[in-house]
Structures are given as structure tokens and as C-alpha cells.
């Protein structure tokens, strides 16, 4: 499944840099995002403009970048022309496959040159752009996962080459748009409820499971993405039709439901960026807290863990998770 998205922040947070928006010089601080996000290209209110040292900026110092963080909880992203929803409301398996920032630039005041750039995360920045309608495409092979994309925000960078020039830009029609895909699998989960950490967990499928390199057990709690990863090399078993692994300890999400996603083809000792987020399904878990301080006990044939239901109670013995050896090929 794939489609298009557009992000139009409703109350984007200025995460770096600051701007002035008032017609009268010397009044600073209040920033009207509506100006940037408006669709008007008519005669502007005279700016926002980057504020660095009041009417002057120091080029390329890093503080001349205005970054707009995206609210994770506000309705800022619209899929396929539908009403905007929040990041938390995005369907599981959502992957951004392309993205570009578009905006309309104009000058006002003394610096008539065109020294401004568009930037995604701080390392992804355009060259100097001209006036009127401009856009900057995210390099196609480097798009981060959606959470990073959101939290790192986007922005613009005033790259004024002349110290002392007023940097008076009128910016409007700001939006981030692109395409997305939702990768889903036809794999099945025999058990989807009351899963506890340390439980043997199985994924079945007709094919394709041998390509899974990691499984993410995720939940978004507030604005924090809890992500626990199980590596293929630590699976109990993996064939093309079945994966069995120990379900990891998991920070309790409020909902009690976690999402399972698979990374594909990230193994082979390469650190190759995985193909993110093939949705496997959701599972409700029972939160157990056996965390704490332990000591290895020579000669003890079981693990004695803090009682997950009552940590003050006596420790609970549990089996050591399947001691296993498999030999290589023996002729």
C-alpha cells in the first residue's frame, strides 16, 4: 500500500533560532507561524526574518538556522488528501519513501541576494536557493525512520554572506510533502494476547521469514517510541516459514498493546541500513517487572528472579531459557 502525504504543522515548535515578525524594528520574539504556512504570495507583512543579534546575523554560525519541529501529537500530517492526523495516529508500517520541502521566498529590505537554504535534519541541507517557489528533495537513499523524521524537524537556513545585512525574508506556503508506503506482511501470529517477556513467541508465514533480520517490538507512549529489538542471530529458530524467539522484556505501554515490525535483509555483518518496518501485527502484553540486580550463582540450574507480581516477595525460580547447541555440518 502506498500514497502521498503532506505535513503542514499547526503549531510547529521553533527548536533552534528565532525570528521577529513585527513591522516595527526592535520588537522581537513573537513568531507567527501562520505567516510561513499561509498560502498567500501577495504583498507580505514585512517578514518573519531570522533574528540573530537583532538586525544583523553572523553567517554560518548555526544559530542562523530556524528549525521547525513537528508536533507528535497535533494533527499535522494528511495522507492521500484526507484530514490531517497525528504522528501517533499513523498506521503501523508507515514509511516515508520520498519527501521534499516546498516554500515561497521573497525578499524585503536591504539584502537583495538569495542566500537561503532549506534543510531537513542538520546534515541534509540544500545549496543556496533563489526566490519565489522553491523546493528541496530529501536524498532518496537516506530518509530516516518516520519518528526521526518528525523529531528532527525541518527548517530554513539564512546563509547571508554579508555580515550586517538585514536578513529579511518573507516565507510562505511552507509544507513538506512526499510519498509513503505501508509495508504489511501476510505472516500470522498464533498468539496475540497475554504475552509475557521470556515467552517463546512464534511467527508463521508461507514464505519470506528467512529474510527477516531484526524484529522490533514497539509502542509509542506519549511522544516516546519504545523500541526493543530482537536480532535474527538470537532467534531460537528461523526458517522461511517460521520464526521463534524469546519475547523481550518490554517497558509497559499504557495500552498494553505493542506492534511487531520486521527489518529485512540487514544482516550479513554489513550494517546496511535495513528496509524498515514491515508490519507483522499487534500483540497485547502482560507487563512483568523482574528487573533488578542479579548475581551469577555457580551450580544453580535455574534463574531465581524477583517476583514480577510482588517484588518484595520471595524470588521466583524460572527455567534457564533453553540451553542449546547446534553443530555445523558433520560429514
Amino acid at each position: 500500500m502506498s500514497g502521498t502525504f503532506i505535513i503542514t504543522p499547526d503549531s510547529g515548535t521553533v527548536t533552534s533560532g528565532s525570528v521577529e515578525n513585527n513591522t516595527a524594528l526592535g520588537v522581537y520574539g513573537s513568531f507567527v507561524l501562520a505567516t510561513i504556512f499561509s498560502s498567500s504570495t501577495g504583498v507580505p507583512p514585512p517578514f518573519p526574518r531570522i533574528l540573530q543579534g537583532r538586525n544583523t546575523i553572523t553567517p554560518n554560525t548555526g544559530t542562523d538556522i530556524l528549525r521547525l519541529g513537528f508536533s507528535l501529537t497535533g494533527n499535522v500530517i494528511a495522507l492521500d488528501g484526507n484530514a490531517a492526523i497525528s504522528f501517533a495516529g499513523l498506521p503501523a508500517g508507515f514509511n516515508i519513501t520520498s519527501a521534499k520541502i516546498a516554500c515561497y521566498f521573497d525578499n524585503s529590505a536591504s539584502d537583495a541576494t538569495n542566500h537561503f537554504d532549506l534543510t531537513f535534519d542538520p546534515s541534509i541541507i540544500s545549496s543556496d536557493l533563489g526566490l519565489t517557489n522553491q523546493s528541496f528533495q530529501y536524498p532518496s537513499n537516506e530518509i530516516p525512520n518516520p519518528l526521526l523524521f518528525f523529531t528532527q524537524g525541518c527548517g530554513f537556513h539564512v546563509d547571508n554572506t554579508t555580515i550586517g545585512h538585514q536578513t529579511s525574508r518573507w516565507i510562505s506556503k511552507w509544507a513538506v510533502s512526499g510519498t509513503y508506503s505501508i509495508l504489511t506482511s501476510s505472516w500470522t501470529l498464533p498468539v496475540t494476547s497475554n504475552v509475557v517477556m521470556g515467552q517463546k513467541f512464534t511467527i508463521n508465514g508461507a514464505s519470506g521469514l528467512s529474510l527477516v533480520s531484526r524484529i522490533h517490538v514497539q509502542a509509542l507512549v506519549g511522544t516516546t517510541l519504545h523500541d526493543n529489538v530482537v536480532y535474527a542471530q538470537d532467534f531460537i529458530s528461523q526458517t522461511d516459514t517460521q520464526i521463534v524467539f524469546w519475547f523481550p522484556a518490554f517497558n509497559n505501554p499504557n495500552s498494553g498493546t505493542v506492534t511487531l515490525l520486521a527489518d529485512m535483509n540487514a544482516n550479513n555483518a554489513t550494517q546496511t541500513p535495513p528496509q524498515n518496518g514491515v508490519l507483522i501485527g499487534t500483540v497485547s502484553i502482560i507487563f512483568n517487572d523482574s528487573s533488578g540486580l542479579y548475581v551469577l550463582t555457580t551450580g544453580q540450574a535455574f534463574d531465581n528472579v524477583y517476583n514480577p507480581n510482588n517484588r518484595a516477595a520471595a524470588a521466583t525460580p524460572v527455567n534457564i531459557l533453553d540451553p542449546t547447541v547446534e553443530f555445523g555440518f558433520i560429514p
Binding site: 530516516p144 538470537d234 542479579y294 550463582t297 524477583y306 533453553d322 540451553p323
Partner: protein, 507 residues
């Protein structure tokens, strides 16, 4: 005799652990293509790994543990640990024994890890956390946080170093005594219970008389951890320019207020020739030392690296004064390459500084740290914040060689890195290189030379165990991952060779 006619049995001469290198067909006959939760016995046998038992016998054992360290105090070998509470606060506890827990001795919102070094029974603690630069995750000292010092007695940790006394003292001629007549500048240096001498404060000029001692009133008191205040003075100034801070100060012999309440000091006699102990180095000291992600010791100096404001900065204290760090002369800048310093470690009289894929060294030339010469060691190999093995319960690395977790694997470093074929994890090269580099901050490595085992926590929150009873080299070490129903984040050794494991509730 084989039960199958004409079939010759295959003798497996030993069990040499996991082999994850190349595909499974390359696995030698005496290795395992897959293994988990086994322990090696003697030279050629294996069995189920030992179980774990709870380490705390208290009604409210600490949960959700992210980091543990050995904390050798003057009377016991104890544990410092970081636990995360439900509000996201990082809380540091001092585990004295199975029934005694102090703390939290320090709580910092958002702290997910901390650096630690013991010194004279005290614990120096530096909060740090993860930051991102693009798709890369790295660790640096927390913004707005400072180095803390903990006395080891259950009292809350306090900010290390401290400010100069504020206010102005009032000098006057005292009883009959002696000084070299003439104008001098006087001030007081506050000393904390941790031995830190703050910059001089309360400065005032006064012209002394030859036949009189000097007395002082209005001596300011200091912060709650100040235990004494010491008089400092310049030698006689011939042409005073009015600058109360610009002259060289010396400690005045036998001129000490041994408390933090008395505001007078009377009848101090001294000659300029008695002023031998220089106090001017205190003027440039940090009054609050920014937190870093690395703490260590070198030549009895505290070493702190990778602050939030400067990821390539190493701060080095004065010898024997871990909180006295000169803001000018005590700074080393590792060549900038956009990567943070990840570790700093002394070995054979050399200070090695590591980035994630670079190693450089500095050697003490008896001058200021800023003058120590840089020698590049390796531009392609480095480590992570907890990637240098500590030995037994010392909390320190080996003296003669280091075991280091690098992007290449776990390797022995003795001033140079081994060739790739001799990396200790050579047999499990695929296993190691599959680990997510953004998770290397979770790696913690310890060495138990009595059992002859390495223990390494992994980004996957398993414990990788290397048994070197057959030899500490790439051929003879035997590897096996151990997993537990709860994730493992930290490991340490206590009471000589008790292996302590810290686990959390997941991320």
C-alpha cells in the same frame, strides 16, 4: 564400533564455542553453528550456564537498572547503579551490600547513563545521555549538568568544585607581630570536605606594618560543604594598579579557619619569604565542571571528556586535586572530526583517548595538560563509553594491556591494535558486526581473569561470554551468548569474582 556398518564415527575433539563467520557450512566440526546459555567446563566440555540469583534482600529492590559500576570505598567493595523511574528520572543508588541501599544519592531528569570514577573513597559521577546527529546516536554529557561528587556515606551527591567566597574581607593591623611592610592583596580560599580549594574570594588590599600582625574580619562563609577557609596573600606590591585579582597569590602558612562559621582570623604574622605555596592556579579553575560521558584517572589527575558543549574536549585536573581543573591549561582538544570522544584510559604511563573509530594518545610532559604532545595511534579503530574491560572488582582496566570493544570486535590493545585476523571475536565476526552501531552505548565489558571469562553486554541486551581457559587468543577463546527472561544492560564484578548483572524493564 559404529552401529552403522562401514561407517566410521566422527570424533569431536572438543567443544570450542560459537562459530558465526561466513555461512554455516564453514563451521568447524568442533564449533557450534548456534549455541546459547551454555558454559564451558575445563578444556573440552560444556554444560548449562549458571543460574542467576537476586542480589538484594530488601523489601524494595531497585528495579529498571541501566548501569552498574564497582565502587570500591575505603572499607568495602560496593556498587553504584543507575535506575530509571516511571517519570523518566535517572536515579543513582549506592548498594553497600545485599541489605543496605543508600539513595537515590543523585536524581537527574532524563539521565540514561553516567560516567564514574572512584577516588580516595569518593565517587565522581557525570550524568550523560544519548544524542543524535542525523541517523547516528552518540553519548555526551548532559546539557546543563555538572560533575558530581559523592562521599560514599549515603548523603546526597554534590556538585563538584565550587565558587569563590563572595563578599569582601576587612584586614587590619593586629597584635604585635611581623610582616614585610607594604601593600598586599589578601583573600580567602574555601576548602570543601572533598578537599577542593575554590578560587580566592573576598579580596581586599591592605598595607601592612612591619611590627604588626594582620587580622581579618568579615570573612565570608561558604557553601554547606565547606569545612575550612585558608588565607592567601600576594607578596608586597610596589606599584599597585588597583586590580585585586591580577597578582600572584600564595597560601599563608598557619593561617586557616577550621570551620565554616567563624568570620574572623586574628594576628597572622608572616614574611614575604614565607609565601612559597602558590595559589594562583586556583583562579582559572572551573567553579562548576560540565558533565561529560567519560571519566578516568591519569597520573593521579581526573580526566573528563566529551561535554555537551564540546564533544572533542578533554578536561584534566591538577594532580591529586580531581576537582581543580584549569579552564585554560587543563584542556586538551582532540583533533576535531565531528565524532565525540568516547573513552579515555591510562595504560603504561600514556593517556589514550578514543573516539568511536579513532585512537590517539597523550603523555604527561610535566607541563600543563594543554601542552601534552599528541600522538595518533590508529585513525580507524576506537571504542564506546563502556567498551574498555574492567578487571575483577577493581573497577579499573588492566595495567599492561586493554581489552576493548570496537566496531571490529573485542580486541587486545597493548599500545597498538592487533591485525584483523587476531581479533578475539574473529570466530564470531558476523555475530559481532550484525550488532547495531547505534546501540554500542549499551556495551559494557568486564574481565574475570580468575574464571578466565569475558562478559560483554550487547545492544541486543544479551550477555556475550568469552571463555579463555584454553587461551586468550582468537583461536582458543570460546564464545556463547547468554540470554535471560529479562534484558541485560550492565555487568560488574564484586567481591573479587562475583558477577553482578543489572537488568531493566525494556525500552
Amino acid at each position: 564400533m559404529s552401529p552403522v556398518r562401514d561407517h566410521q564415527g566422527v570424533v569431536i575433539p572438543g567443544f570450542n564455542g560459537l562459530w558465526k563467520r561466513g555461512n554455516d557450512d564453514t563451521c568447524p566440526i568442533d564449533h557450534f553453528s548456534n549455541c546459547v546459555n551454555i558454559d564451558f567446563v575445563g578444556e573440552a566440555s560444556f554444560r548449562t550456564r549458571p543460574g542467576i540469583g537476586i542480589s538484594q534482600s530488601v523489601s524494595g529492590p531497585v528495579s529498571n537498572i541501566r548501569r552498574i559500576y564497582n565502587y570500591p570505598t575505603q572499607t568495602a567493595n560496593t556498587i553504584l547503579l543507575l535506575a530509571i523511574d516511571s517519570s523518566g528520572n535517572g536515579n543513582i543508588y549506592h548498594i553497600v551490600n545485599s541489605t543496605t541501599v543508600y539513595g537515590p544519592i543523585l536524581t537527574v531528569a532524563g539521565m540514561t547513563d553516567f560516567a564514574f570514577v572512584p577516588y580516595a573513597g569518593r565517587a565522581y559521577i557525570s550524568p550523560f545521555t544519548d544524542y543524535t546527529n542525523g541517523a547516528l546516536t552518540f553519548q555526551s554529557g548532559m546539557s546543563g549538568q555538572n560533575l558530581q561528587v559523592y562521599a560514599g556515606d549515603g548523603t546526597a551527591a554534590q556538585q563538584a568544585a565550587g565558587s569563590a567566597l563572595s563578599g569582601t574581607i576587612t584586614p587590619a593591623n593586629g597584635a604585635a607581630g611581623h610582616t614585610d611592610a607594604g601593600l598586599k592583596v589578601f583573600a580567602f580560599v574555601s576548602q570543601t570536605k572533598f578537599g577542593y580549594n575554590a578560587p580566592p574570594g573576598g579580596n581586599a588590599s591592605f598595607t601592612t606594618s612591619a611590627g604588626s600582625s594582620v587580622s581579618f574580619t568579615g570573612v565570608p562563609t561558604g557553601a554547606s560543604n565547606v569545612v575550612k577557609r585558608l588565607l592567601v596573600a600576594t607578596k608586597t606590591i610596589q606599584n599597585f594598579n588597583g586590580d585585586l585579582n591580577g597578582y600572584q597569590f600564595f597560601f599563608v602558612p598557619n593561617a586557616v579557619i577550621n570551620d565554616n562559621t567563624t568570620t574572623t582570623l586574628s594576628n597572622i604574622s608572616f614574611y614575604d619569604a614565607d609565601l612559597l605555596s602558590d595559589a594562583s592556579h586556583l583562579i582559572n579553575n572551573y567553579t562548576a565542571i560540565p558533565a561529560g560521558s567519560t571519566l578516568g584517572m591519569y597520573h593521579n589527575r581526573l580526566v573528563l571528556a566529551c561535554t555537551n558543549a564540546n564533544i572533542s574536549l578533554i578536561l584534566v585536573s591538577a594532580p591529586g586535586e580531581p576537582e581543580a581543573i584549569d579552564q585554560i591549561a587543563g584542556i586538551i582538544v582532540v583533533p576535531l572530526d565531528g565524532n565525540p570522544i568516547t573513552n579515555a584510559q591510562e595504560m603504561r604511563d600514556i593517556l589514550y583517548a578514543f573516539k568511536r573509530s579513532q585512537t590517539v594518545s597523550y603523555s604527561d610532559n610535566d607541563g600543563y595538560p594543554s601542552s601534552w604532545p599528541l600522538v595518533p595511534v590508529d585513525p580507524s579503530v576506537g571504542t564506546c563509553p563502556h567498551g574498555i574491560a574492567t578487571v575483577l572488582d577493581s573497577g579499573k582496566a588492566s595495567v599492561d594491556s586493554l581489552l576493548i570493544a570496537t566496531y571490529r570486535g573485542i580486541e587486545q590493545f597493548n599500545g597498538k591494535y592487533p591485525i584483523p585476523q587476531q581479533i578475539l571475536t574473529w570466530k564470531i565476526d558476523n555475530y559481532w558486526k550484525n550488532l547495531d552501531r547505534n546501540g554500542y552505548g549499551k556495551i559494557q565489558l568486564i574481565n574475570n581473569p580468575i574464571e578466565r571469562k569475558l562478559y560483554c553486554t550487547l545492544p541486543s541486551r544479551l550477555l556475550l561470554v568469552g571463555d579463555y581457559q584454553n587461551g586468550l587468543d582468537y583461536k582458543n577463546i570460546r564464545w556463547c551468548p547468554w540470554n535471560f527472561s529479562q534484558g541485560v544492560n550492565a555487568v560488574a564484578i564484586q567481591n573479587t569474582d562475583d558477577v553482578i548483572i543489572g537488568s531493566d524493564i525494556g525500552f
